[in-house]
Every structure is written in C-alpha cells, then in structure tokens.
Amino acid sequence: MRRIISILVENEPGALSRIAGLFSARGYNIESLTVAPTEDDSLSRMTIVTHGSEQIIEQITKQLNKLIDVVRLLDLTEGRHIERELLLLKVIATGPDREEIKRLVDIFRGRIIDVDGETYTIELTGPGDKLNAFLDTIPSSGIVEVVRSGVSGIARGERALKI
C-alpha cells in the first residue's frame, strides 16, 4: 500500500536525521522525502511517500508521532488529496525527435524551459504516475538527466495539516 504522510516538525537542526534514521533503523521504505519551510518559521513540513502493509503503516505513523520533534502528522492517503511532483528533464533533441518531443511536451502540458542546439530542458508537474507516463514516451537513449522533486501533497476541502 502506497501512502503519503505529511509531517510538521520543529525547525531544529537534526530533525531530518531523526526521521530518516527512524526509517532506516526500523527497516521502513522511503520512496521519496521532501522538506521545506512553512509560513511559520519555527516549523518545517516534510512529505514522505512510503509503502507497507496496514500494520507497518500504523507503526510508521506511531513511531513518527513518538519523535519529540514531530508536532503533527497527517496520512494524506486516508482522505481526498492532491499529489504533485516536479520533473526537470534534459533530453537530446536533434533531427526529427526535436519536433516530436515538443509535441509530447504539449500533450502532457509541460513546458520547455531551456533550449540549445542539441537539447531541451523540460518542466512537468503532476502526480507521480503522470510523470512516469511522460518519461515512458521518451526513448531512454535520449535522456541526459532526470531530476524529480519527490512528492508534495495537500488534503482536499477543509481537511488541513496545521497547528
């Protein structure tokens, strides 16, 4: 079961290593992890994408809540939510591919944000599976560099993670 867990943590040095350390010490999976400041200077927000059985996910949320620096936690996947990830992709764009890639970017509603004679640099946001679908259309021999931000997410409607 894939889960997206959002966490508000005290903005203290070492908070990230406590969370990463918890996952490695207990053998939990991390698919992606993002950290960034919030509107409140004293808090950071982390978003973790993980996999596990229901029992493992319950342990993960309990163990995270037990960390002293964790202020609040929300399993976004328990309710309606929006998931977004940013992809920056550098591809070789020469010959007939140059036009074809441009068309694919338009179909996926991405943008070409840098161009030179040999390459395109593409920006695309969306849920992880959309980014995967886009990457599947690009021949792997043409890919120079893939940069993914990891997942960010927010609950729909009135549900919110805040203190």
């Binding site: 342990q59 037990k66 964790v70």
Partner: protein, 578 residues
C-alpha cells in the same frame, strides 16, 4: 542572578532536585567540574569508566524512580556511555546524560576529542539536544528532565560545548515546561476501559501478563488489588518481577523463554489476556504465529507504538498503568458483574495440574554447588528483601527464577539490551540510593570482568555491595546454546586464565571468599551480609554443566517447552535461526 554556563548546569541540577551525579571529568567538561568543586548541594560520584557512570545512574533510577544523572566529557567520554544509554533506552529508564563538547567554533573540524554526540546517540535516546546558546541552557536541562521522566521514560542527552559553559547569562530555572510537540497522556479512554472490563469479566481462561511498565509506573498496588479482586492468574515478564509479590497465591512465575511451565501454558491456552506495561518481546512470545492462538488481548501501555506492534490487540488502551488500572478497578466494581466462578475453578484446576510438573525443580548435589541453590539461599539469608542486580546470562535467569521478588524495584537487570557488565555498576547506584539496604550483585565470572574496575569506585565510596559470583568457568548461556544448537562445539565460551577473585577483591581493598562446597554456601552468605560496612566478593565455584530450564527455543511456541535435559534427548533442538 548572572551565572556562567557551568554554574548554570550545577544550579539547574540542584533546582531539579538531583542529589547524585555519576561522572568522569575531561577537557570539555572542566568548566562544569570546576563549578562542582565549590558546592555541596549535588554529590558527584567518580566512576572508573564512563560506561559504569551510565549503569550506576540507571541502577539508581530503577531503585528510586528518579532519573539517573551522568556527567562526562566529549569524544571518548561520550562513546563510552553508549552501551549504558542503549541499556536504559531498551528498558525505558529515565536518565539525563550531560556531555561536554568541543567549543562551538571547533564543531565539525575533527577537533581533539570531538564526536558528533547528537548523531551518535540519536538511535538510542528518547531525545537529545545540542546547546548552542548559554541562554537556552537552563531551559534545555529542564526539558531533558521532563522528557526523560514522563510518558514512556528514557534517556536524554544534553551536549554542551565548552564555550557555552564559560559564557555568562541571567539564570532562572523554569518551574514547568510545556512542549507543543510532546504531551503524554495518562488517563485511559473510558469507553475502552469499559470494553476491557466487560471482556475480562466474561473470560473463562483469563491471564494477566504484566511487565516493566508496572514497576516504572509504581502500579504494583493496583495490580495486586486487581488480581485479588478477580482471582485471575498473573505472570510477570523478566522486567516486571516484583510487580506482583512472588509469594502471591495467584502468581504463576515468570513467562517466556525461561519462564515456568504453568505461566507459558496459561498464556497459550488463555481466552482473554490482560497485558499491562509489556511490549510482546520475542523472548516472551516465542513464535508469534503460535502465540496464544485463542486469546482476545487487552493491551494497556503508555506508548501507543507498543500497542499492535507485534500482536493484534482487541482492546488498546493508551495510558499510565497506575491510572488505567485504577480506572479498570472502578469499572469492574461498578459493572455489577463478577467473574465466571465455574469456569475459573476449572481453569485453576488445569493450572494446578501444570504446576505439578514442577518446572523449576533441579537435581540437588552434595558435591557440587548448584547455582540455583545459591540464589535460593541468598533469598533466605536476605529474607527476600535485598536489592538484586545482575549481569546477563545463566546467572541472570537463575536470579530471576529463584530469588522470589516480593516488591517492585528490587530486581535490577538489563532485560532488553542484555548488557554484560551491568551488574556491579548498577549495584553502586542502588547502594548509593539506599545506603542502609542489602544490595547483592548476582553475576558470573565472565560478566563481572566487563566492569571489574568499579571495585575501585566501591572502595572510594565505601559501598558494601555483596558480589555473588556464580563461577562456572564458562560463558554459561553461550555454552548452553552451543551444547544445544551447535553439537557441543564450545567455540570461545571457555573463560581461560581467570583471576583469583579472592586476591583480586583484596587488592582493591575488599574481602574475598571462595566457596566450593554446597555445605558452605549459607554460612558464607550469612558471614558476608553480617559485614554491613564491607564489600564482600563471594566466589562460588558452581557446577559447570548446569543449564537453565525450562526453555522454549527461539522460534517455538509457549506450548513447546523443554523441561529437563531428558526432554530434548540426544536430538538437538532446532537450530536457532532467529
């Protein structure tokens, strides 16, 4: 009032009500040690190795319920404390470790005696802090004590750079602390309490299974009241011994790998289990697939993460054991229902049949000293009222099985981490906390060597500990497993070149006695405990071939106990895989 950081450390300890600190000085901690020099409010005990400081503070905490306090220097001072911190962490013991650190401008430079203390201790502490500003020092120390001693207790490390201890600031120690990210609950959810009461009263084959949480929460009175009210059988984990008096008629003894037959069988056959302050550890449950197959489980614990971690729970209750048991007693009292008398009578007669196996019986000898016999005599001589610390191995299991603890906080051992070397230093902490009480360290010749240097600390502070060394010239538990699971290939479990313990004790200024005849055991113990002001090292030369029974092999179920050597026959038990 303006104070230096070092003075703030000492004043904070005083204002926190700390009477004892166990420590060892060094460069980064010298300002703090200087502040200790000119005051008498907080007593400092100088150990001979930082590991011993943590074990001593741990023993003090277990015996008193107050957090143990440690003061060490940076680098090796800190790394030496890791075993002791991890020991306290695994057994949920409140402890505050204050560590010197290199000055802030040198942090990260690989400076002399620098380690990343916060990083290296992180996996084995409840929480830790690095104090970068002297203005935060007093508040951080307050937070450390608050975190260490509330909720599920545990060790907290405060890393203090040397320059922070030199700077001055206005001192005020917070009376109370509130943290938005940490607010442990103590009261159980009333709906769950009522469900638990209902389930318990409907039980036909109930079992009450309790652990260290009863001791830590000082809930022994509530537990005894509950057992008396319901007349249900009760078993304690290794960490929970003394939670119910061992001579209580409803006590089935310890459960688990070396628990009694009746305790383990009652767990296996139970239909309702009340688990309090336990964490379903693998040494207790055996194979989880075979664990109490028909039991509906009520689990009371202060740590939500302990509930549902290893077994499926019917009624989870998060809260402090004392408070929740009070609530449960009230709910049972007001339910207007009483236990099912007929079913209970049948259950008790089944349990009596299991007791008939006499799983703790051992063959006595006139020639060789049986280690179990020494522990039984220790109980007699101390009237079952001593504080008993232990190291780890066979002697630890025999102490747990045969001493018979009637009060909580009397049995002090490293249950979770299984730390050899714990016994003697923890006994120092216990003896300092209770100077007038009898303190025995039941140990083995392998374990005692791991912190033997502390005999020097015992001399300096006049600690009249009685060391009960069950000397079988083997790492007994290792030898036992090698006998069972490795066709008696005793790879490196033989203790060659042992010291003469009598001479060794005497060279540290203590009394040593060697005993090699069963007939001399009681006399030697009486002699030792009569010497109220002396540490006596009793070196009992015991039967080398004795093994700890009964036993559940790792990976087996509670109903698959081996009671006696003959049970396993010549066919070795399944090779340990876990």
């Amino acid at each position: 009032m303006e104070l230096t950081g070092a003075e703030i450390v000492v004043r904070s300890l005083k204002d926190e009500g700390v009477d004892l600190v166990f420590g060892y000085p060094g460069g980064a901690a010298l300002h703090i040690y200087d502040a200790f020099y000119s005051q008498e409010d907080v007593r400092h005990i100088l150990v001979r190795h930082e590991q011993a400081a943590t074990h001593a503070a741990d023993g003090y905490a277990r015996a008193t319920g107050k957090p143990g306090v440690v003061l060490v220097t940076s680098g090796p001072g800190v790394t030496n404390t890791i075993t002791g911190i991890a020991t306290a962490y695994m057994d949920s013991i409140p402890m505050v470790v204050l560590a010197g650190q290199v000055p802030t401008h040198l942090i990260g430079d690989d400076a002399f005696q620098e380690v990343d203390t916060v990083g290296i201790t992180r996996p084995c502490v409840k929480h830790n802090f690095l104090v970068r500003d002297v203005k935060d020092l007093a508040t951080t120390i307050k937070k450390a004590f608050y975190i260490a001693n509330t909720g599920r207790p545990g060790p907290v490390v405060v890393d203090i750079p040397k320059d922070v201890t030199a700077l001055r600031t206005e001192y005020s120690y917070p009376k109370e602390i509130r943290m938005r990210s940490y607010a442990p609950v103590s009261r159980g959810h009333s709906k769950q309490i009522n469900r638990a009461a209902h389930l318990l009263l409907a039980a036909k084959r109930p079992i009450i299974y309790t652990g260290g949480g009863i001791v830590l929460s000082d809930a022994a009175r509530q537990l005894t009241a509950l057992v008396d009210k319901l007349d249900y059988p009760c078993t304690n984990t290794l960490m929970g011994l003394g939670g119910l008096p061992s001579d209580h008629p409803r006590f089935l003894g310890m459960l688990g790998m070396h628990g009694t037959y009746e305790a383990n069988m009652a767990m296996y056959e139970s239909d309702v289990m009340l688990a309090v302050g336990v964490r379903f550890d693998d040494r207790v449950t055996g194979d989880l697939a075979k664990f109490s197959p028909n039991a509906k489980i009520i689990h009371i614990d202060i740590d939500p993460a302990s509930i549902g971690k290893n077994v499926r729970v019917e009624v989870p209750i998060v809260g402090d054991a004392t408070t929740v048991l009070d609530q449960l007693l009230e709910a049972i009292g007001s339910s207007g229902t009483s236990p099912n008398g007929d079913a209970l009578a049948a259950w008790w007669s089944q349990i009596e049949e299991w007791k008939g196996k006499e799983s703790l019986r051992y063959d006595s000898s006139d020639e060789l000293i049986k280690p179990q016999f020494v522990v039984q005599k220790l109980h007699e001589v101390t009237l079952g009222d001593a504080y008993v610390t232990s190291d780890v191995g066979q002697h630890q299991m025999w102490a747990a099985q045969y001493y018979g603890f009637n009060k909580p906080r009397r049995w002090i051992n490293s249950g979770g981490l299984g730390t050899m070397g714990f016994g003697l230093p923890s006994a120092m902490g216990v003896q300092l906390a209770h100077p007038e009480s009898s303190v025995a360290c039941v140990t083995g010749e392998a374990s005692i060597m791991m912190c033997i240097q502390e005999l020097s600390t015992c001399k300096q502070y006049g600690l009249p500990i009685k060391v009960v060394n069950l000397n079988n010239r083997y790492m007994g538990m290792v030898r036992q497993w090698q006998e069972f699971f490795y066709d008696s290939r005793y790879s490196h479990s033989y203790m060659d070149s042992l010291p003469d313990f009598v001479e060794l004790a005497s060279s540290f200024g203590h009394t040593g006695i060697q005993i090699d005849k069963p007939g001399d055991v009681e006399g030697a113990l009486r002699d030792a405990f009569a010497r109220k002001d002396q540490l006596v090292f009793l070196d009992f030369i015991t039967d080398q071939s004795e093994n700890v029974y009964p036993m559940i092999s790792a990976g087996a179920g509670h109903n698959e106990m081996v009671l006696k050597p003959s049970d396993s026959g010549t066919k070795p038990l399944e090779r340990e895989l876990a």
